[in-house]
């Protein structure tokens, strides 16, 4: 990871460093990969591949059949075929069939890790259906990171210039700041990112840490519920001067019996989810405990909506 972390600024505001590194972990292979692919089919000859390599100035050509990656031909394979007088043979006979790949939805950090472990400078990228959708190289990562850093720097500059007036305008106009996040089904990798962002925002407003913790814990449980129980949804935090309102809305199976779902220990989570440390059936009860006001409603087979509020005045009853 040295290659990427070396790009992080070391002397700026810690807030900005954390934005950059969070971005880096957020970046997915599909965000950086090259989508323009030059491929061959098993029926092509090695000569065809040699020409692709020469014309496109590339050193590896994926072999594809019905959208599926079935092998790869490297420059080495071509040189060997030339040496052995086998350059007119079909690709199917000489290609490497065991190809290391990476999936498009994994993080870039993980992909770099794989490349380093396997000692390859490039990996073919597959989608969830197993189809070849791109190629990732070290260079793709560096280029995107540089673009991203530039963007972050520009935003930081803009923020600095406009921070005071916006804050004042916002407060005068409506007294509310709205933070919104999409939460996807099964997206464990990003679980808690919305909660973490809201926590950071409340810290910037100097809200009491004990209150922030209640907001964040409740939000994390709600976020996890969308990830593990629904088909996906949205979380919205509305920050008023004296309280925060959080809503978690999803489409999905809904909840048949809400009072049962509220019972500690009752859960429909799968074994896989439990192995990850979730699905103990304590989430909803904990959200209610953290909140000053709590409400949940659900339409079976359609959606679930959860709303809670936390006041920015410490309450003795607060536990979490």
């Amino acid at each position: 990871m040295t290659a990427t972390s070396a790009l992080l600024p070391t002397t700026t505001d810690p807030q900005d460093i954390s934005i950059v590194s969070e971005l880096m972990y957020q970046l997915k292979v599909r965000d950086v990969m090259t989508r323009t692919l030059y491929t061959a089919t098993p029926a092509n000859t090695l000569r065809d591949v040699q020409h692709i390599m020469r014309d496109r100035k590339i050193s590896g050509v994926p072999v594809v059949e019905n959208m599926r990656l079935v092998g790869i031909v490297s420059l080495d394979d071509i040189i060997r075929a030339l040496d052995g007088g086998e350059i007119e043979k079909p690709v199917a006979e000489k290609m490497t069939r065991h190809v290391f790949t990476v999936e498009e939805h994994v993080s870039v950090v993980k992909a770099i890790d794989e490349m380093e472990k396997k000692g390859f400078g490039r990996l073919p990228v597959l989608n969830k259906a197993g189809e070849l959708v791109g190629l990732i190289t070290h260079w793709d990562v560096v280029r995107t990171l540089l673009e991203m850093l530039q963007e972050v720097a520009m935003q930081a500059e803009k923020r600095e210039r406009t921070l005071q007036p916006t804050e004042a305008q916002r407060d005068a106009a409506q007294n509310v700041t709205v933070l919104e996040y999409t939460v996807e089904k099964d997206d464990f990798e990003n679980a808690g990112r919305a909660s973490s962002a809201v926590k950071k925002y409340l810290q910037s407003r100097s809200v009491d840490p004990a209150l922030i913790r209640r907001v964040a814990v409740a939000m994390y449980e709600a976020e996890i519920n969308i990830i593990i129980h629904s088909l996906g949804g949205r979380m919205t935090a509305r920050v008023y001067p004296d309280h925060i309102h959080v809503s978690a809305v999803d489409t999905g199976p809904g909840i048949a019996d809400i009072s049962l779902a509220m019972k500690e220990g009752w859960s429909t989570a799968t074994e896989k989810v439990r192995e990850m440390g979730f699905g103990a059936g304590m989430g909803l009860a904990n959200i209610k405990r953290c909140a000053d006001r709590f409400q949940i409603e659900s339409c079976l087979g359609k959606h679930t909506e959860l709303n809670y509020e936390v006041d920015f005045i410490a309450k003795p009853a607060a536990t979490a």
């Binding site: 969070e22 972990y25 993980k110 890790d113 913790r213 449980e221 990850m276 440390g277 989430g283």
Partner: protein, 113 residues
Amino acid sequence: MTVRECMAKLDAELVAGEDDLNKTVESVAASDLLSDVLATPKHNFILLTGLCTPQVVRTAELMGGVAIVFCRAKYPPQEAIGMAKVHGIPLLCTRLPLFEACCRLAGHGLEKA
């Protein structure tokens, strides 16, 4: 007790967070269930767990946990290490199982969770 002292008691290896080893630990949270941890009223806790996912770090971050110990020599994934560095949470690895790790920390003025 400091994170550094906990590290010594657990014969643990440091994975990330060298700069934050002098932070004070006031209590112990030990669980393989993140919802359990999310329900604890403890503050400034060190989290001992057999889980080894980025969500462990997220949980500690959101709750203001001081440090994390991965038990039974599990080594955390890169995402977990990155997140821990960003948020200044030391990550430790120990060969001890969860129960024995708890025993080693018991009786040093730490509250149990």
